[in-house]
C-alpha cells in the first residue's frame, strides 16, 4: 500500500469523523440514506468474512480456516471475550492443520 493511499485513507477517515461530530450533528439524517449507512457495517463485515475465508490457499487451508472461523463464531455466540474468540479461531485452524 503506497504512502499516498495511507494519507488518503487517513484524511477520509478523519473527514467522516469530523463531519459527523461538527456537521451532521446539526442536521437530522433520516430516511433511506440513514438506513443505508446504518446497515453498511452489517453488509461489509459479512462480505469481509466470506472474502477472507475464501482467500487464497489450498482447499485444505481454506477448509481448516473455515473451521477456525466457525469455532470463533461459536465463541462470539457464547459471548466470549474478543481475546478468547481470536485464540479459539487460531487454535482450531492451526490444530486441524496439524492433524490433517
Amino acid at each position: 500500500m503506497s504512502w499516498w493511499a495511507i494519507i488518503a485513507l487517513a484524511a477520509g477517515s478523519y473527514g467522516f469523523k469530523a463531519f459527523g461530530l461538527l456537521g451532521l450533528s446539526r442536521v437530522e439524517l433520516r430516511g433511506p440514506l440513514a438506513d443505508l449507512v446504518r446497515f453498511l457495517p452489517a453488509a461489509m463485515f459479512a462480505g469481509l468474512i466470506v472474502q477472507n475465508v475464501l482467500a487464497d490457499g489450498t482447499s485444505e487451508i481454506v477448509v481448516t480456516r473455515a473451521l477456525g472461523v466457525a469455532a470463533g463464531g461459536l465463541a462470539v455466540w457464547a459471548k466470549a471475550p474478543l481475546l478468547v474468540v481470536i485464540l479459539v479461531a487460531a487454535g482450531v485452524a492451526a490444530g486441524t492443520r496439524a492433524i490433517l
Binding site: M1, W3, W4, A5, I6, L9, A10, S13, Y14, F16, K17, A18, F19, G20, L21, L22, G23, L24, S25, A34, D35, L36, V37, F39, L40, P41, A42, A43, M44, F45, A46, G47, L48, I49, V50, Q51, V53, L54, A55, D56, G57, I61, T64, R65, G68, V69, G72, A75, V76, W77, L82, L83, V85, I86, A89, A90, V92, A93, A94, R97
Partner: protein, 241 residues
C-alpha cells in the same frame, strides 16, 4: 495485554471509566493482530504504525490490509476501507450530545477518537458526566493501546513468517464475526448480512479482491428496504442508536 492487566484502582471512580479501560486493553490485542496482518501483507513498519496512528478505525485498517494481503492494489484497498470509515460519521450526532458545550478546536481533536467502541461506551451511560468519561476513557484508552498493540504486532510479525502455521489467517475473519455480531440483533441487520454474504460467495471466486466487498454493500440496501417497510407497519420500529 489482557483485561486482567488493567489497574484495578480506577474502578472506584465509576463503571464508565472501568468499562472504557477494560475495553481499551482488549482492543489492544486486536491491534497486535492488525500489526501482524499488515506486516505479513508487505506493509513496512512505518506504514503499519502510520495506519494505526492516523487512520485509527480498525475495520477500515483490516479491510485495507486484507485487500493488500490478497494481492489487490492500493486503489482496490481504498474503496472498502473508506466505505467502512463512513459509518463513523453517523456516530457524530450521538457523541456531539456529550460535548455540546466544548469549543470547536476541542471537538476537532475529539473527532479522531469517534469510533464504534467509544461511541458505544459513551452512549451506554445515563448521566452526561459519565457519558463524557466513558467516551474519553475508551476513546483515548483505545488509541493508546491500539497503537501499542500495532507496534508490538508489527515487530513480532517479522518473525512470525507463515500466518497459516499459527492459524492467524482464521483469526482475522473471526474478529469480523465479533464485529458483525451486534449488527445481527435487528432483522434488517440480519437481512443485510445474509444478502451480502451470498453476494460475496458468488463474486469472490470470479472478481478481483476488494470488488466483491463493494458489491456486497447492496446487502445494506436490502436491509434499508426491510427497515423502511417495517417502519410503515410499526411506526416506532426504531432500533439501535
Amino acid at each position: 495485554m489482557t483485561p486482567a492487566d488493567v489497574p484495578q484502582k480506577p474502578a472506584a471512580r465509576g463503571p464508565a471509566l472501568r468499562d472504557g479501560l477494560i475495553l481499551a486493553a482488549t482492543v489492544g490485542v486486536v491491534g497486535v493482530v492488525f500489526g501482524v496482518l499488515a506486516r505479513t501483507s508487505g506493509l513496512s513498519l512505518a506504514k503499519t504504525c502510520a495506519m494505526s496512528l492516523l487512520v485509527f478505525t480498525g475495520a477500515s485498517q483490516f479491510a485495507a490490509a486484507s485487500v493488500i494481503n490478497g494481492g489487490g492494489s492500493s486503489v482496490a484497498a481504498l474503496g472498502p476501507a473508506l466505505l467502512l470509515a463512513s459509518r463513523n460519521a453517523l456516530y457524530g450526532p450521538v457523541v456531539a450530545r456529550f460535548f455540546d458545550d466544548d469549543s470547536v478546536p476541542r471537538r476537532l481533536a475529539l473527532a479522531h477518537v469517534v469510533i464504534d467502541e467509544s461511541t458505544g461506551v459513551g452512549a451506554a451511560q445515563s448521566e452526561r458526566s459519565e457519558q463524557r468519561i466513558g467516551f474519553l476513557s475508551s476513546g483515548i484508552g483505545i488509541y493508546v493501546f491500539w497503537n501499542l498493540g500495532t507496534l508490538l504486532g508489527a515487530t513480532v510479525g517479522d518473525f512470525i513468517g507463515n500466518l497459516e502455521q499459527w492459524g492467524l489467517d482464521a483469526a482475522f475473519p473471526a474478529v469480523y464475526v465479533a464485529l458483525l455480531a451486534p449488527h445481527l440483533a435487528s432483522h434488517p441487520g440480519r437481512v443485510s448480512a445474509l444478502i451480502a454474504a451470498a453476494i460475496a460467495l458468488a463474486t469472490v471466486p470470479v472478481l478481483p479482491i476488494g470488488i466483491p466487498i463493494l458489491i456486497s454493500t447492496v446487502g445494506a440496501a436490502a436491509g434499508a428496504i426491510v427497515a423502511h417497510r417495517s417502519d410503515l407497519v410499526v411506526t416506532s420500529a426504531q432500533d439501535s442508536p
